[in-house]
């Protein structure tokens, strides 16, 4: 019988790890709490930097992981350490015996309503990056006006924010804001688009080219300053205030739509799973890897591996690459023990 690996989470990390483990001759079991595979990516419309459809990636990952046993709408109730592996009890009563556990529990999108000064859930014209992405994907959204004259993007919502409890940079939002600003400008060429940023962190391949193109080809305005408050005028338009830190002057502008770039925070499930497998949680709430250079996919405990955003904020390609690395690490661990 093939050795089994339990994968907690059926997002892109779990799916890619499962397909690699299948190729390595092991028997992966995916336990996913929601009713669909692909996690957050399955809800996205297009991915930077190639603007490829997110659904294409998810379908590809789902089909290559189809040889795995997959539980949907199922959660882990308990994990026990055995002499040479683990047993995982599911909330449907099933018990899975495995040699290794791979934690792929991902992240949680910051609840933008917590930053009350931005007015999410208070004003009609304030939405998040996820809401906008859903709208790009074809979902109706009454908050998005037919012909906006001016649109703003607020970077770092809930990220790099000690008071919100998240010191980390979410990494993907700068690039997502630029991607979405361009996509919006393509839909509404007459609209003025403003990005309010603290720093622009465009570290990845082609990211800086997107930035140049946003400025040069789309005339998107970048204003260095964190939005301090948003209010609504009598016509339902938003009055946004920030400091224009490059001129050192306070600045205000009226907008028809404001998009909040909500960041990645640790998933609430991660802490629960961490205590089950007795893995360490870092100061930022994400799982603590054995080290942050060479052994990111390894925990401090034997047979427990990590992949994707459960250890920190990650891009899609980073997550997929990590899932492959974690699958290989789990495979080597099982073979070396045998």
């Amino acid at each position: 019988m093939k050795e089994s690996v339990v994968i907690i989470g059926g997002g892109i990390a779990g799916l890619e790890a499962a397909s690699q483990l299948l190729a390595l001759g092991l028997s992966p079991v995916i336990v996913e709490k929601s009713d669909h595979l692909g996690g957050h990516v399955a809800e996205w419309y297009r991915l930077f930097p190639d603007l490829s459809p997110a659904q294409e990636l998810v379908s590809r990952l789902v089909s290559s992981a189809s040889g795995a046993r997959i539980y949907l709408e199922t959660e882990i109730s308990r994990i026990n350490a055995l002499k040479d592996g683990y047993s995982a009890t599911l909330n449907n009563g099933d018990v899975l015996f495995c040699k290794a556990v791979l934690v792929c529990t991902g992240f949680h999108l910051f609840d933008a309503a917590k930053k009350e000064e931005y007015g999410y859930g208070i004003y009609d014209r304030v939405i998040t990056n996820r809401d906008l992405e859903h709208w790009f994907g074809g979902l109706e959204d009454a908050r998005i006006p037919d012909n906006p004259r001016a649109v703003g993007f607020v970077h770092c919502v809930g990220s790099r924010d000690v008071k919100a409890g998240n010191t980390q940079c979410s990494k993907v939002c700068c690039m997502t804001a630029i991607k979405q600003a361009i996509e919006l400008k393509e839909k509404f060429p007459e609209a003025e688009v403003y990005c309010f940023y603290m720093d622009l962190r465009l570290f990845g391949k082609k990211y800086e080219d997107f930035y140049i193109s946003a400025q040069r080809d789309y005339g998107i305005h970048f204003i260095r300053g964190r939005v301090s408050e948003v209010s609504e005028d009598i016509d339902g338009r938003l009055l946004v205030k920030a400091e224009d830190t490059l001129s050192g002057k306070p600045l205000k502008v009226r907008l028809d739509l404001l998009v909040l770039m909500a960041g990645m925070v640790c998933s609430p499930q991660t802490g629960r799973i961490a205590s089950m497998v007795r893995a360490d949680v870092d100061d930022d709430g994400f799982l603590r890897s054995r080290d942050n250079i060479y052994s990111i996919v390894e925990s401090g405990r034997k047979g427990i591996f990590f992949a994707g955003a459960c250890t920190g904020t990650k891009t899609v390609p980073e997550t997929v690459a990590e899932a492959r690395a974690a699958a290989l690490s789990a495979f080597r661990y099982i073979k070396e023990k045998a």
């Binding site: 002057k249 306070p250 600045l251």
Partner: protein, 108 residues
């Protein structure tokens, strides 16, 4: 009537009210103007900056905020060092000359 006090004008920028006609015109003649990332290398290398406050970074920002740039420009010696150091390749020399041309047209 002098009441012995006055109100200081607001220094706030209201983007709904700024006059961007000069900036829009320059976007046509020097499209690179959009590419500024406000790194400040132009100001750091400027021969006139130390004495006059000349700064191409501030020039572009002021144009984008509809503020006056006449005084600053009068100090430029057109040495071209800012063009040399700009990492985004903005033709700052042409920009400065076009702004000067706009103001001289205005006079006519």
């Amino acid at each position: 009537m002098d009441f012995g006090f006055s109100l200081s004008p607001s220094s706030a920028i209201d983007l709904d009210k700024v006059d961007l006609s000069l900036y829009r015109r320059l976007e046509q003649t020097v499209p690179d103007i959009r590419n500024c990332i406000a790194c400040g290398s132009c100001s750091a290398t400027c021969m006139a900056a130390d004495y006059s406050g000349m700064s191409v970074r501030k020039l572009i920002l002021n144009l984008q905020r509809g503020a006056d740039v006449k005084k600053m420009l009068s100090c430029c010696m057109l040495c071209g060092k800012c063009t040399m150091v700009c990492p985004r390749g903005i033709n700052t020399r042409k920009l400065i000359l076009d702004v000067c041309r706009y103001y001289s047209d205005e006079k006519v």
